[in-house]
Amino acid sequence: MPQKRTFNIVGISVPKVDGVSLATGSAQFTDDFELRSMLHARMLRSPHAHARIRKIDTSEAARLPGVHGILTYKNVPRVAHTTAGQGHPEPSPYDTFLFDRKVRYVGDAVAAVAADTLQIANQALQLIQVDYEILDPVFDPHQALQKDAPIIHDEPDAYAPLPVIYEPQRNLAAHVDMEIGDVEAGFHQADVLLDNQYSTHYGAHAALETHIVITYLDEQNRLVIRTSTQVPFHVRRIVARVLQQPVSRIRVVKPRIGGAFGGKQEIILEAISGALTLLTRRPVKLQLTREEEFMCTRTRHPQHIRLKSGVKKDGSLTALDLSILMNAGAYGPHALTVVCNSGSKTLPLYRCPNVRFEGNTAYTNLPIGGAYRGYGATQAFFAMGVQMDEMAHAIGMDPPTFHKRNHIRAGEGSPVFQALGEGKKGVEMKLNTCGLDACIDQGARAISWHTKRRRRDKGVRRRGVGMVCLMQGSAIPEIDMAAATITMNDDGSFILLAGATDLGTGSDTVLAQIAAEILSVTTDQIVVHSSDTDFTPFDVGAYASSTTYLSGNAVKHAAEQVRQQILRVASEMLNTEPSMLMLRKGTVMHQKTTTRRVSLADVAHYSLYQKNQFHISATASQHTHISPPPFAAHFAEVEVDTETGEIRVLEYVAAVDCGTAINPALAEGQTEGAIVNGISFALIEEFHFDARGRMLNPNFNYYSIFSARDVPPIKAILVPTHEPTGPFGAKSIAEISINGPLPAISNAVYHAVGIRLRHAPFTPQHVLDALRNQGRQKKL
């Protein structure tokens, strides 16, 4: 058991450092910014799912008074790139051009116009004449991989920058496979074999703030990009390449962000707006409408999953065979890594000697998949979580017992960690911590599992409980890196410059707490800036559940160095050895004679104005060899209306091991938010398309999401462990809990009414159909 550690600020739910400014409306988002003579940009988008542009004529639009610049494929550099904001070189194919002669889905970019007003820009769009040669589209990923399917990326210059399998000539955007042990032999050893298919659907991030960017030239004619992004440094690098500008000529500023959930790990608007600014030499604002946000940004990749497993009567797993066909949509950002994650974040959870995994990603003429909280694990945990329940049922074991029997434990590794990385091999990793047993026990108790499991309802509305176990990672090993700078002010306060991007998660607060803990001050003594590529040090950005674990460590190391410098200065002032000094509540004091003391303000003043002057400051960087998984056990109680097919979640319990929760309220908030997001996705969210691939419901009227009134009681239980490689024992928490609702609800529905929901979403009609089929089968 980890011993109890006491901290001053870590582990306490201090208020968010940006809380007051957000609540009072003084917080500055991208749009809260006016520049003189700013132009407004709008984009012309393809009405066709698949077409070639025969002719495009912008002359009439250009003549419209108030129009200052128009971009099409004719006047922008043709640079193959990916919009995925990932490390470099990216594991995603370079299949995207700022504008192209070809359009590949309804909503694809055709042209952009910058004008004095939005109205003029809109008018100009209507004056652009486009002559399309309409091509056959393909919407189904299975069909896309057939021999005679239309080829979506037939351009010769699309390529993968890493040595990975990429075959656009047959619509294959990515492929990955691995085998450990001998799966066929494993199936032979099994007492029970299961083989089922599952599918997950499109989902929208539905951030309140749509994608938005403002670009302008500074006094040195450098391009400044103020943008709602999770990845400022990747924005700088990718825009520099696409616009053929040196990195030194670009500055990216991340203001407050109105929600992202992975959707803003993409460089969708920055290069277009930047190109318009370079063309017009004027500031330009480009913001997407809600309709564009739904149709033209990124989504959760739909997956078709087949999972085969073998299990012995005693509950031990003999083989797992997971194969996935993922729909990339029209372009391939994250096409490889999301599907890799579907394997690498699910398969290691269970001890199994024989494991096979195959992932294929196909292009289709539909909206583009991308990073979305959970990142492939959400899809695959649906299949894994349901099939584990099916196995437990098949051998007559209570699911909590079954999970406990099979899950990975501290001290153990999994060959899957090594076999599957992100565009390259993974890393060997042994777990330092795993609190899953405690999560299962505490969660089961909180939902009264054993009582409720025994109940069998007979009426119209029937209740049931279900559970699932989950894991995720903390940062991408051997790829991600983060850095932070801390400087001391004359009054003894500090400035923390973080490359890490707080996108509403509260990471500025968590990082401030980490610095404050080391420097023995309160968080109001830490001024946090995140992020500005000119002023804050490098950080890959907010994704892969990396910020607390990785950026947190960078902050911790920087703070430790600053602390050393403070002690050194104080030792000079107090005429003693640094090792004899300690830092307590803004004061440096002698360990024995505590009356020998100086305040932090004294230290700062001395170091800046008095003797042997230097600026107390440090920058530290952090990378990682491992990605310690957080773990969780989720429990759902549902009520199924057998006449309408409606599912209501009555109660949801999530017990999560995230190591040390630096700020418990924020950790619970991440958990609750992810669960609401996950339940909404499981039950009601749905993209509807017409026969020609146009999304029919790109608005909140018909793409419903949960609001406060729909949210069931959620109980988040934080189960502490101590991860020695994380800051103060912390692991991640941001993504893991979105993986729970699909399988937990499906399993609870099985308990309630005996139907297995293997295809999401669980809309009332779908559930009622399943109940009908069950009735029919029973009669036969």
Binding site: Q119, T644, E686, I705, R709
Partner: protein
């Protein structure tokens, strides 16, 4: 992206209904009443050049008389939700319908007049008003007229209301305590647009229902009465098999128009289920009302409650 009311140049805030009607008449159809604005705020109509703000017409009221409740056209959903007299009409069916409109901020804006004139297939209030046999009062340049909800919703109100006409009031007949009612909205979320709406009002006499009125909304462009099902239920003892009959008969009658969220077949079936439930709920409410007013013990509590909430009206 289209501009909202691109041709808008005039704004009026008349202080009397008469002035409002004169202004509307002079507008020749290019000026329209502005009530809660929740739907006008999204209008991209190029025809509209002027808005007539109704908020100074003193039409935001709910008045109780012996026989009826008169609701002014600019009373908002929130007003209906918290009004004791409204709550007592047919087991609170109107209140339930008002509560089904969007979320709290929406209910603070949406007016009775706006909700019934700007009829969408999923609109809530019209369904309840049809079931309650309400009357709509209209005033125009040639005077006042009153028409039944049935006539008002026979075609889309925007089709038959003249451009110079204003809905001024909705009159809902009071019901006896043996009358119960229920409104059920079937949607993906609490605040979402209905995929089906059902309202039921009935009187309970002994074991049988009387004067049953059943309305279905959101299945088709206009809400409609289920007369055949009403006839089936009339004067019949409410048995489980009768309810099942009502359910399957409804499923046969209702022919839902396409809705991407669910197949017509599914919605037909659910319409039957909802009708059955609405009847059960209305029945149960009627019983409760009887029990409360008849039961000696509970009478003081009930009347005190009525008094205090009546005071806020």
């Amino acid at each position: 992206m289209q501009q909202i009311l691109p041709k808008l140049t005039e704004y009026f805030r008349p202080r009397s209904v008469a002035t409002a009607i004169t202004l509307l008449s002079k507008g020749k159809g290019r000026r329209v009443p502005l009530a809660g604005g929740t739907s006008l705020a999204l209008s991209t109509s190029r025809k509209i050049t002027g808005l007539l703000d109704l908020s100074d017409l003193k039409l935001r009221y709910i008045k109780e008389s012996q026989r009826s409740i008169r609701i002014g056209a600019t009373a908002v959903m929130k007003d209906l939700c918290k009004h004791a007299a409204v709550d007592r009409v047919a087991g609170g069916v109107l209140q339930q319908a008002a509560h089904a409109v969007g979320a709290t901020p929406t209910r603070n804006l949406v007016t009775v007049g706006g909700n019934i004139v700007q009829l969408f297939f999923w609109s809530s209030l019209p369904v309840a008003l049809l079931a309650l046999d309400a009357t709509i009062r209209i005033q125009g340049k040639s005077g006042r007229r009153s028409i039944s909800a049935a006539a008002f919703f026979r075609s889309h109100p925007k089709r038959h209301l003249a451009f110079h006409e204003l809905v001024t009031e909705v009159v809902v007949p009071k019901t006896s305590s043996s009358c119960g009612g229920a409104f059920i909205k079937f949607a993906r979320t609490h605040t979402g647009y209905a995929m089906l709406n059902v309202a039921c009002v009935l009187e309970r006499r002994g074991r049988a229902c009387h004067n049953v009125r059943l309305v279905i909304g959101a299945a088709t462009a206009l809400p409609f009465r289920l007369r055949k099902v009403e006839d089936l239920l009339e004067n019949a003892p409410l048995t489980p098999s009768l309810l099942e009959q009502a359910k399957s008969m409804t499923a046969q009658i209702v022919k839902p128009v396409a809705d991407m969220r669910a197949d017509p077949e599914y919605r037909k079936e659910v319409a039957g289920v909802l009708v059955k439930r609405a009847i059960q709920e209305a029945w149960a409410r009627a019983a409760q009302t009887q029990a409360v007013s008849g039961g000696r013990k509970r009478r003081p509590t009930a009347s005190r409650k009525r008094k205090s909430s009546g005071g806020t009206a």
